[in-house]
Amino acid sequence: MAHHATDHTQPTGEIQKPVTGWIWKTFFVLVGITALEFAVTFIMDPSTLRNSILIVLTIFKAFFIVAEFMHLKHETKGLIWTILVPMALLVWLMVALITEGSAIGEAIYNAFK
C-alpha cells in the first residue's frame, strides 16, 4: 500500500468548503515585496547597499514560497534542515565565486594596462 498524506484526505461523500485565506495572504505578501523591489530598483542608484536590499527582499520572497506554498514550514525538522543546509552552502559558493570574478577581472585589466 502506498503511504500518503491521510491527515487531510477524507472518504468520498461530502466535500468540505475551501479554506484559502492563508493562500491569498501569501500572494499579497509576494506581490507587495515585488512592488517594493521595483521601487528600490528605480529610486536608488546602483550601489552595494541597493543590491543588498534587493537580495534580502528576494530571500524574503523565497521564504514565503518555500515555507507556505511548498509547505516546508509544516514538515518535520529533519526535512527542513535537509533542504536548508545544502542551500546555505550554495550561498557560500556564490559569495566566493563573485569575489573570484572581481579578482580575475582585475588581473586581466591590469595585464593589458
Binding site: 550554495l90 570574478g101 577581472g105 586581466i108
Partner: protein
Amino acid sequence: MSTTSTTQTLHNNASIERPRSGTWDGGNEPFKASYGKLMMWFFLLSDAFTFAAFLTTYGLMRHRHLAFTGDHKDFVFSTAYWPIPDKVFNSFPGLHGMDLPLAFVALMTMILIFSSVTMVLAVEAGHRMDKADVQKWLLWTLLFGATFVSCQAWEWSHFIAGTDEGTKMLDGTIFHGANLQMNQYGPVLFADLFFFITGFHGTHVFSGLVLLTYCFIATTNGTFEKRGHYEMVEKVGLYWHFVDLVWVFVFTFFYLV
C-alpha cells in the same frame, strides 16, 4: 568508559523478538512524508544546484567585467562594460520604440506568481477530494504557465532581433540584436548567459506544463479519485512552485541588480 558501555547495553537490548524501534531504525517514516514527495524534494534540491551554478557563473562573469560608471541616463550599449539591465529590457509588445524599463518582466513575474497561487488552490482542492475544483485550478495554472512561456518567447525574439539603432561593434559595423557569438548589448557572455539561464528556466516551465497536462487528464479521468488521494497534484505542485522560486532569483540577479 561507563557512557560507552551504557550505549552498548542499550543497543544490545534489541533482539529478534524485540527489534529496535527508534526513529532511524527502519519501519517508519522519520520525515513523515511519502516516498514520492521526499524524492521530489531531493530532485528539486539537485535542480537548485544546477540553477545556483548558472547564477553563480553570472555573478562571476559580471564581476569579471567592468561596470558602467557614468550617469544612468548617459548609458549607451558597449562591449567594454556590462550593460544595465533596465536599459536592455525596456520594450513591451505592441508599444514599439517606447522606453518602458522592466515593465514586461514585471508582468511576467506577476503571471508566474499568480500561476503559483492557482497551483496551491489546486493542491488545496485535492486535499478536500474536490475533483471539479482541482480541474478548475489546474486549468488556470496551465493557462498562466502557457502565457508565461509565450511571454518569454516574445522576450527572446525581441532580444535576438535587437533595437532599430543597433550598436557599432569593434570592427566598425552596426550590429542588431544578439546571438551566441555577438550581441549589441554588451560583452559576449551577457547574451550567452541570458540564453542559458532564461532558456533553462523556460524549459522547466515547459516541463511543468507537460506534468500539469498529465494531472489534468488524470483528474478528469478520475484516476486520482479512484486512488483515494491527489498526491500527484501535490508533487507536481512542489515542482511548479520551485520553478516560480527560481524565477524569483533570476528576476533579481538578471533584471534588477
